[in-house]
């Protein structure tokens, strides 16, 4: 019996995520911490295994060290397999042509040999910067039922935001007749989620053709999808209804974290049917001595101070007399006594010394002009000295 896989997933994880500024200066966006004990990539990887897709290629390019180490052999996601499993695919040197991944389509094209090893009928293309839970298998079933060559997952977005996305114009059966990448005047509110299922043979054909086209940007949204549509291939939309968030900006990353809070949160993590797996840190349970309200706290943290409306990652120490409000603490952070953190995102391994003040009140600063909409950001590994102030909306990536 020849061993093969019905569907292979390819996860695009090479992006820099430049709009996350200091948070991605040393690590790729999919490796950014989220929701106190996760990293963004946990969501697509967990979705894969929960959808019974056990072969995943992770395409990395930008600052891959943390991501590579985190994904490792894939064991936390049950993706350590003898046949299949998770594989990190970085750009490589070849005999004839050596290059970085030039675009999303080129990244997949350079790894066609990997996909062909599993001889799949279908290829699922994912991106590593969205927070959501989705059963890809249902999408695959829809792809088979319609007999499509390409199926694009989409969801309704407010019309005024539609111009940020790839917009699908479909007939009543979901068949796509027009695809517009970031249109100025969107005709519909159905946005592409950047999740595609291709019938493998069609994908190979269009990737190979696109590679020979010097004018192409080698991008799925800009080149491959419009070309397929123009050639009259069957393309269908797949409607997703559920929580989905692109966490490409500081404000959306903050919002997505806050969406976890509350008794009926916008996004529920403790769902035993669709567990989100992660490489859990080895730490004792959290020790709580202070006051914690409407917040989530991960293992290994020691909370002596006051935590309100916040997401606290693993191994954080918040000393007695310190206050954290409306903020995201990613992990391994020390907040010394008397320090105040408000409306901020603090990256891993940061120390905030005695009586330092970070950020401003959310009620005052939210929506402020600037890169971060008023959210103060402290980059990975820095120390903020005693009594110092970091104003609202400021991004700090050096010790101060």
């Amino acid at each position: 019996m020849l061993r093969k896989k019905e569907c292979v997933a390819m996860l695009l994880a090479g992006g820099q995520g430049s709009r996350l500024y200091a948070l991605t200066s040393n690590i790729a966006k999919p490796a950014v911490s989220f929701g106190s004990k996760y990293r963004i990539i946990d969501f697509p990887l967990s979705n894969c295994i929960n959808s019974k897709i056990d072969t995943v290629g992770v395409l990395t390019q930008y600052q891959p060290l943390v991501l590579n180490e985190y994904v490792g052999n894939g064991q936390p996601w049950d993706l350590d397999r003898t046949f299949g499993g998770v594989h990190i695919l970085s750009p490589y040197e070849a005999k004839t042509d050596t290059s970085w991944y030039k675009g999303t389509a080129n990244a997949i094209y350079q790894n066609i040999t990997f996909i062909k090893m599993y001889d799949p009928e279908y290829v699922l293309i994912l991106s590593g910067d969205h927070i959501y839970k989705m059963d890809y298998n249902m999408m695959l079933n829809a792809h088979k039922e319609t007999g499509a060559d390409c199926t694009i997952a989409c969801l309704k977005v407010p019309l005024k935001e539609a111009s940020r996305f790839g917009i699908l114009n479909t007939d009543e059966n979901g068949k796509i007749y027009e695809f517009e990448e970031k249109p100025k005047n969107p005709k519909s509110d159905l946005a592409s989620m950047g999740i595609y299922i291709f019938t493998a043979s069609k994908l190979y054909k269009y990737l190979e053709e696109d590679d020979k086209d010097p004018s192409s940007d080698k991008d799925f949204g800009k080149n491959i999808l419009p070309k397929m549509l123009a050639a009259g291939e069957k393309m269908y939309s797949y409607r997703f209804e559920g929580y989905w968030k692109d966490v490409g900006t500081i404000a959306s990353l903050w919002e997505a974290n806050m969406d976890l809070l509350g008794l009926t949160p916008n996004f529920e993590l403790s769902d035993r049917e669709n567990v989100i797996y992660s490489r859990s840190p080895l730490a004792p349970p959290a020790f709580v001595e202070g006051e914690v309200k409407n917040s989530i706290v991960a293992t290994g943290s020691e909370i002596g101070g006051k935590i309100i409306n916040s997401v606290i990652g693993s191994n954080c120490i918040v000393e007695k007399g310190a206050e954290v409000k409306d903020s995201v603490l990613m992990g391994n952070i020390t907040v010394k006594k008397g320090a105040k953190i408000r409306y901020s995102i603090i990256d891993e391994d940061v120390t905030v010394c005695e009586n330092a003040e970070i950020g401003g009140e959310k009620e005052v600063c939210a929506g402020m002009a600037g890169k971060t909409s008023g959210i103060a950001v402290l980059g990975r590994g820095i120390t903020v000295g005693k009594n110092l102030k970091v104003p609202a909306g400021e991004i700090v990536d050096k010790d101060m």
Binding site: G35, S36, K37, Q75, P76, L261, G262, L263, L269, S270, V275, I276, Y277, S278, S280, P281, L282, A283, P284, P285, A286, F287, V288, E289, E291, V292, K293, N294, S295, I296, V297, A298, T299, G300, E302, I307
Partner: protein
């Protein structure tokens, strides 16, 4: 460097905590919010550079096996060595082992195959952090036959205790079994080091003589015939020999000194679960408590240890309690000095109270 193999008794002293060992072996008793008792001894072995461990089991070892799996969480899923479960072996004339010596007899095949020079024997009913390689060093230096590790503390009544006297060079001069006198003693903590070949000869000899007790038939007379040495462990040590000591050892984790000693360098390994982080609601109030992942807290919790997935309803007040995995405490309940085993449900408005010496115990899967 001397190579060492470890042997852990995962089922010994089960009768001391019948409430907790009814459904599992001693080593699998949940502890400290996310651990099982065996994690401490097993992690100590791994952190002492031991890469081959035999785990002697007896009955009810299903939850232990489920916890240990292939051993990968302790880095013991190896081609060479790694974790070996040693289920009880009974031949035609034998029944399930009744004592330590018979248990060891069952592990002889494992020890014979071991290439390591030294063996560490340890129980799984104690909470401590200890580098066994220091004992091996002392053992070699003293040219000892057996080195026994002790901790100085007060002798308690119920437990089977072995205490000893030593000379100024740590050579054991007298061994007492279950001493009647109270007071601080050098109490053997059931951690022993020997050369693997020597231990095998000792067991073989014991079988031939029909010995039944390691303490009475081998160690006690050994004071005169063997080179028995003592090694003092002076860190934090808690032996789980009653529900009361189980309760106290859990409560000790609320002291930052104990927590730092045991977990400061994050090297007590355990099975990893995928619970979501713990959620505190607007109405939550938590003081001096250890809270594992996956809990939902809407009520008041003080001086308590909460395992994974515990839910505390609105208006509930939980003080001085140990609540194990997936316990659900209803709204407006009042609990104090309660130890509740896994998967129990306490209905709304229940009032349950034990006292410090006799915590109120709730069986696994109860509905109250």
């Amino acid at each position: 460097m001397a190579t060492t193999v470890g042997v852990i008794f995962s089922s010994i002293n089960e009768e001391d905590i019948p409430e907790l060992t009814k459904v599992r072996s001693t080593g699998a008793v949940p502890f400290g919010g996310r651990y099982r008792l065996v994690d401490f001894t097993l992690s100590n072995m791994v952190n002492s550079g031991i890469t081959s461990v035999g785990m002697i089991t007896k009955n009810n070892y299903h939850s232990l096996m489920e916890h240990l799996g292939s051993g990968k969480n302790w880095d013991l899923a190896r081609k060479e060595g790694g974790l070996n479960l040693l289920p009880p072996y009974s031949g035609e004339t034998e029944t399930l082992y009744k004592n330590r010596l018979e248990a060891l007899k069952g592990s002889m095949a494992f020890l014979r195959k071991a290439k390591e020079d030294f063996v560490v024997l340890a129980d799984s009913d104690a909470i401590y952090k200890f580098d066994y390689s220091k004992v091996i060093e002392a053992h070699i230096k003293n040219n000892a036959d057996i080195t026994m590790v002790y901790h100085e503390h007060k002798v308690e009544g119920s437990h089977y205790y072995l205490t000893f006297e030593t000379d100024k060079n740590d050579k054991i001069t007298d061994i007492q079994i279950n001493p009647q006198s109270d007071g601080i003693k050098k109490c053997y903590i059931n951690v022993m080091v020997a050369r693997t070949s020597f231990l095998l000869r000792l067991i073989q000899n014991a079988i031939q003589h029909g010995y039944t007790s390691f303490g009475r038939d081998i160690l006690s007379p050994g004071v005169k015939t063997l080179n028995l040495y003592a090694y003092k462990f002076d860190g934090y040590y808690a032996n789980i020999s009653s529900l009361y000591s189980y309760f106290n050892a859990n409560m000790d984790l609320l002291k930052s000194g104990v927590r730092n000693e045991l977990f400061g360098d994050r090297s007590i390994y355990t099975k990893v679960n995928d619970s979501a982080p713990t959620k505190f609601s607007e109405t939550a109030s938590v003081k001096n408590s250890l809270i594992a992942d996956g809990c939902l807290i809407e009520g008041t919790v003080e001086n308590s240890v909460l395992f994974r997935g515990v839910k505390i309803g609105k208006g509930a007040v939980v003080k001085n309690c140990i609540l194990m995995t997936d316990d659900i405490i209803g709204e407006n309940c009042k609990l104090s000095y309660v130890i509740s085993d896994k998967n129990s449900v306490i209905r709304d408005k229940s009032v349950l109270a034990g006292c410090e010496k006799y915590p109120y115990f709730i069986n696994k899967g109860s509905l109250i």
